[in-house]
Symmetry: C2
């Protein structure tokens, strides 16, 4: 038998720029999950990381370009939001009737460069952290300093995907664990050597965390996953999950 536990941590305070996420996680883990333990994976939504880092854009200070105005009209979105999406984008991957799929400045391909007005204070949009891997590293260091425990940290984001309806949470930042569990070369049940078997462990952890993370009124922006075995890696980044464009049949 193997068992994995996923704890959702409620955070009562409103998360404003400068908010000390590490302090809140240590405190709420103590209260709601018996404290942080070695090997725990702490998953935090990019939304709260962005809020704590002040990655909010006031819409009425944004001046849309003529191109943003034109896209906004065809997409049925506010021009200020489209302007922010373009500022956060390195290229447009696809344009649909109502959807703008971009590659963002961090290399992630998703809708609207991750710019979101939901769960943002009125009149504001939330942008992704400038460098979610750096955010994860910083948070991991603070958690380690406060508790002496060795944990991994994942910054998650909610994304749609081709072919399948609905959104799932994936990792856009991480620290302390190798995001891909490479099982190539392992033997299968019949001794056959697996040729292509690379599990996107960090994405599966982000999805598992979403099972307890409420993104609306419940305010559960943090999950602790306990009991998962993963490969420790001090240098790993979520960017290791980005498929290089020449190898991608769809990008």
């Amino acid at each position: 038998m193997s068992k994995v536990e996923v704890y959702g941590l409620k955070v009562k305070e409103e998360i404003k720029p400068g908010f000390d996420l590490a302090e809140a996680i240590v405190r709420e883990a103590e209260r709601q999950a018996g404290g942080l333990k070695d090997g725990d994976v702490v998953v935090v939504t990019s939304k709260v990381v962005s809020k704590a880092e002040g990655r909010l854009a006031s819409l009425n200070t944004v001046k849309p370009s003529p191109f943003a105005e034109r896209l906004a009209a065809s997409l049925g979105k506010p021009a200020e939001v489209v302007e922010l999406v373009l500022r956060e984008a390195s290229r447009i991957v696809r344009m649909g009737k109502r959807v703008l799929i971009t590659e963002d400045l961090r290399g992630w391909i998703s809708a609207n460069s991750g710019v979101d007005v939901s769960n943002a204070p009125p009149g504001y949009a939330i942008l992704l952290p400038i460098d979610p891997d750096a955010s994860a590293r910083k948070l991991r260091d603070a958690l380690s300093k406060a508790t002496g425990k060795e944990v991994a940290v994942i910054v998650s984001d909610t994304q749609g995907r081709p072919f399948r309806k609905g959104q799932v949470d994936v990792a856009v930042g991480l620290a302390g664990l190798k995001p891909i569990w490479d099982r190539k070369g392992e033997k299968d049940l019949y001794g056959y050597s697996l040729r292509i078997k690379e599990i996107a462990l960090a994405d599966e952890l982000a999805s598992a965390a979403e099972l307890v993370i409420g993104q609306a009124a419940e305010a559960t922006p943090v999950a602790i996953i306990r009991g998962v075995s993963y490969e420790k890696d001090e240098k790993a980044e979520a960017k290791d999950l980005q498929r290089p464009r020449p190898e991608d049949l769809f990008a």
Copy 2:
């Protein structure tokens, strides 16, 4: 606090055609997870469902078509395997140097129509269940009959995806739960009504299950997820997760 538990169930027997999966799950749940409970989500890999249903193809009885021979040469795969991939496909979505992305007979878009030689007996390939939703319904009925408990069942498959490296587990069959948690119209933290928020819950459950499911020598083909709230739905199918082609910017 909210807490979700994911139990991995080891199954020691080799799974052959006719194997009684329900009996094994009831027995091992008793032994390894305190028995099945109302509200549990039972996740089973499509691999073992296929094996129990006899969805194995003996490669030396397969006669490849000239087209399969030609593709096989360019893909570097055995022509018999490519023939099976084509037999299981309704169309080819993309062809790469080493990869064949197809839409399969069930409507899923994935590599090789889900045909796999890993974890198959030597000389055989494993095909997806003919109708994984029907497999899930049948298994759910048998579990209910044996235990009197009301559970949901997900049949999972391991798939790659565009843009992101590595594979994750997703739902290709299910019974008893609504695969998408539709949160459109719910209010966010600031009272803003969410416009696009449809969580692919069944896929996140499949990914969470993969954290305990060993696909190689460990032989842990079943997971029980406990503590997740989901919408019960007697008529739901995994096919509800298929994005209609006209709405897909990548298919």
